[in-house]
């Protein structure tokens, strides 16, 4: 962990940093609300991307496995939510009944008549763990064929898997309609916590009320996502400094030596894929509820690469760096859109470089420039030497001169 937040070795500095950060994060939506909803909305999406980046960080950053199809797990979590928290399942069931009656009738018997009419509507408390579990299982499944592959091949194969999943999402609407094809699934339930819907009740103009006091829906989602992000960061840090985390890093540094030291690289790699994927699944589930609909175009290779760019830009393997990379690459293009397009109109009379192009440019440049000039990322892990607690460092400085003198 970075020296700014190093609780073990420099507690006073760490807690101060945390306090400042905490206050800023909590105050942000209240301040930003004065300028409309869009800023908080941008941060909501950025928080989702940060979750994705942290998940990918486990696979790429800690274990050193270049996964280019990571967005598939986001898609799985999102589509699972689409099927289990919307009216969609009713259509799915109907289409099964029409085409494969035996399967259809069995399904109808399992879910009951109500679900057959209105679809399945699981609560968020079930959706989140289910999304994590489904993604984790697929993570291991998709990782399994890649275990013996070297870096570049692994990348291409995972990319292939990502594309295969997207193609399936796009085409599983005939003969049986599961994913509703290119149109995607809409009318996904918003998240309800203790009876309060985070989208606001109908007629409240997207305002969520806790008793008398209300806040915009995007703010409510902000706090939820912030909480989830914090949990994921916590889990990531715990994993990194554990026996498992060390095993991942060992595999990244030298797989042969890792094996020779007794690490079952097959299982440990599968764990990396699974854990990393589970974060993606949770983020996907949140995304589906937040946006209210899912469609295949949100889950293209471009998105996989975007998440990779965040990890690379921020600092592969360094959690605060990855968060920074996520913030920069998720929020910056949107922020720029609000600034750059009006400026261009002023200067040139028209928008020459629109926000989408800008976003792509940023991603491409981030990856090329960082790899060429600062491959460790904008905020890399501090060296071990810099991390030692103050006492040990003093002792070392005292010892060395005497050793040399002797």
């Amino acid at each position: 962990m970075s020296t700014l937040f190093d609780v073990k070795h420099n507690p006073r500095k760490a807690y101060t940093s945390f306090a400042i950060l905490g206050i800023a994060l909590i105050a942000f939506p209240f301040i930003a609300s004065n300028f409309g909803n869009s800023w908080v909305r941008i941060m909501d999406l950025a928080l989702l991307y940060i979750m994705l980046a942290l998940g990918l960080n486990i696979v790429v950053g800690m274990a050193g496995l270049l996964d280019l199809g990571y967005i598939a797990f986001y898609a799985l979590g999102a589509y699972m939510t689409g099927l289990l928290a919307s009216p969609q399942f009713a259509s799915v069931l109907e289409s099964f009944v029409n085409n494969y009656p035996a399967v259809g009738e069995t399904l109808r018997w399992i879910v009951g008549e109500e679900a057959a009419q209105n679809g399945i509507h699981l609560s968020v408390w079930l959706i989140v763990p289910l999304g994590a579990a489904l993604a984790a299982v697929f993570g291991a499944l998709l990782g399994a064929p890649t275990l013996k592959l070297r870096g570049d091949y692994l990348a291409i194969v995972t990319l292939g898997f990502g594309e295969i999943i997207r193609i399936f999402m796009n085409n599983l609407n005939a003969p049986v309609n599961i994913t509703n094809g290119p149109q995607g699934i809409n009318m996904i339930d918003p998240i309800r916590i203790f009876g309060v819907s985070l989208a606001g009740e109908p007629g409240s103009r997207a305002t969520v009320y806790f008793g008398e006091w209300g806040m915009p829906s995007v703010n409510a989602y902000y706090f939820l996502f912030l909480f989830l992000c914090a949990v994921i960061i916590f889990i990531s840090i715990r994993l990194q400094h554990s026996r498992l985390g060390r095993a991942w890093i060992a595999i990244r540094e030298d797989e042969i030596a890792a094996k020779a030291m007794g690490i079952n690289t097959r299982n440990i790699k599968l764990l990396a894929f699974g854990m990393g994927a589970s974060f993606g699944g949770v983020a996907g589930a949140m995304f589906a509820s937040f946006q209210g609909f899912v469609s295949p175009e949100s889950f293209s290779l471009t998105e996989s690469i975007a998440v990779l760019a965040m990890v690379v830009l921020g600092g592969i393997g360094h959690i605060p760096g990855v968060v920074l990379g996520g913030v920069i690459l998720a929020a910056l293009p949107e922020v720029l859109r609000h600034v750059v397009e009006p400026v261009q109109r002023q200067l040139f009379g028209a928008v020459l470089v629109d926000a989408e192009v800008l976003r792509q440019l940023l991603y491409g440049l981030a990856m090329v420039v960082i790899m060429l000039y600062r491959p460790e990322g904008l905020w890399p892990s501090p060296k071990h030497e810099d991390r030692m607690d103050a006492n040990a460092k003093k002792r070392l400085d005292e010892k060395e001169p005497t050793a040399l003198a002797a």
């Binding site: 050193g64 270049l66 280019l68 064929p145 013996k148 592959l149 070297r150 870096g151 570049d152 091949y153 990348a155 291409i156 194969v157 990319l159 292939g160 898997f161 594309e163 295969i164 193609i167 399936f168 796009n170 085409n171 005939a174 003969p175 049986v176 042969i256 290779l301 690469i305 990779l308 760019a309 690379v312 470089v353 989408e356 192009v357 792509q360 440019l361 991603y363 491409g364 440049l365 981030a366 990856m367 090329v368 420039v369 790899m371 060429l372 491959p375």
Partner: protein
């Protein structure tokens, strides 16, 4: 559904384009051990530049025969593609020759994105129609149809591949390329300038991709900034199928993958009882890739590589 012969012809056409692009991948991998992720986008640049040139030719000399116009487009696209690929090598890859494996791959991805973005800025986001200059009337072979564009493609591809074989087997530069692919350091000791060889490799690959790109655009009558990515991946799969690093493997792999994809798309409906349709065509290349890498990573014509501790 098309007849078997029709599908074979479609497969050969598709496969020739894959083969041309696969050659670029395999040659670069042979000398640098790097997957030039951006290679598929060079195909796209070839197609886009081809359109631009054709539009100019159409307005300046509309009476030229279609073949000649397409030929001019190809001749014009080749230097542009070469320039792009050579610049990419010089700017993005050269510094990372000795970097850990992940770095050049990530850079390559970044370059691919940048190429697509620049294409988006120059030619816009939407697909552009490719001017149809060849006669439209198809030939008939054994009950199957093949258009003049496709015939031209097959001829060009064959000529290009033969030319490459001659270059690699019979010329000094070809020998230098083979030596550098086997052992760059020793080749250097023998007086081979590895930088020159690498630039040459990128240039040849780009030229082949330019041909493939123009003909792809002509065959499918349109082009778009993102068009290169998926064919690029498939061509890479073809290179792996044939044996990465081996140019004969790239040719064989390309043609074979084209036929597999064509037949697969044709028969997948029957195979799965109607559950999967031909929209799943793109999956074949990836499935082939995964199978090859899992069961026989050296590909059809590759050699086994041992891993020394």
């Amino acid at each position: 559904m098309d007849t078997f012969i029709q599908q074979i012809i479609n497969g050969l056409v598709l496969g020739s384009m894959y083969a041309l692009v696969a050659l670029g991948y395999t040659m670069v991998y042979g000398v640098l051990n790097l997957i030039n992720f951006a290679h598929g986008d060079v195909l796209m640049i070839g197609a886009m530049v081809g359109i631009t040139i054709l539009k100019i030719v159409q307005s300046v000399a509309p009476d030229l025969p279609g073949i000649v116009k397409l030929g001019i487009a190809i001749i014009g696209a080749i230097p542009v593609c070469i320039l792009v690929n050579v610049i990419i090598e010089r700017v993005a890859y050269r510094r990372l020759r000795n970097a850990p494996r992940l770095a050049p791959l990530i850079t390559a991805i970044g370059v691919s994105i940048l190429l697509q973005t620049f294409a988006m800025m120059i030619w816009g986001r939407n697909p552009i129609p490719f001017p149809q200059v060849m006669p439209a009337e198809p030939f008939t072979i054994g009950g199957a149809l093949i258009s003049p564009t496709q015939v031209m493609l097959l001829v060009l591809a064959t000529v290009a591949m033969l030319g490459l074989v001659l270059l690699v087997e019979r010329t000094r530069m070809g020998r230098a390329m083979r030596a550098t692919a086997e052992n760059p350091r020793v080749a250097g000791l023998m007086g081979v300038d590895s930088n020159k060889v690498i630039v040459m490799t990128f240039a040849i690959g780009a030229a082949l991709a330019a041909v493939a790109g123009v003909m792809w655009g002509a065959n499918y009558a349109s082009a778009q900034f993102a068009m290169g990515f998926v064919p690029g991946l498939k061509a890479f799969s073809a290179a792996v199928l044939g044996g990465i690093g081996n140019i004969y493997g790239a040719m064989v792999g390309g043609i074979l993958l084209g036929i597999i994809e064509s037949l697969g798309a044709g028969y997948i409906g029957d195979l799965t009882g109607g559950f999967l349709g031909s929209h799943y065509q793109d999956i074949f290349a990836f499935v082939v890739l995964i199978i090859v890498l899992t069961l026989r990573p050296s590909g059809i014509m590759g050699e086994r590589v041992a891993d020394r501790a």
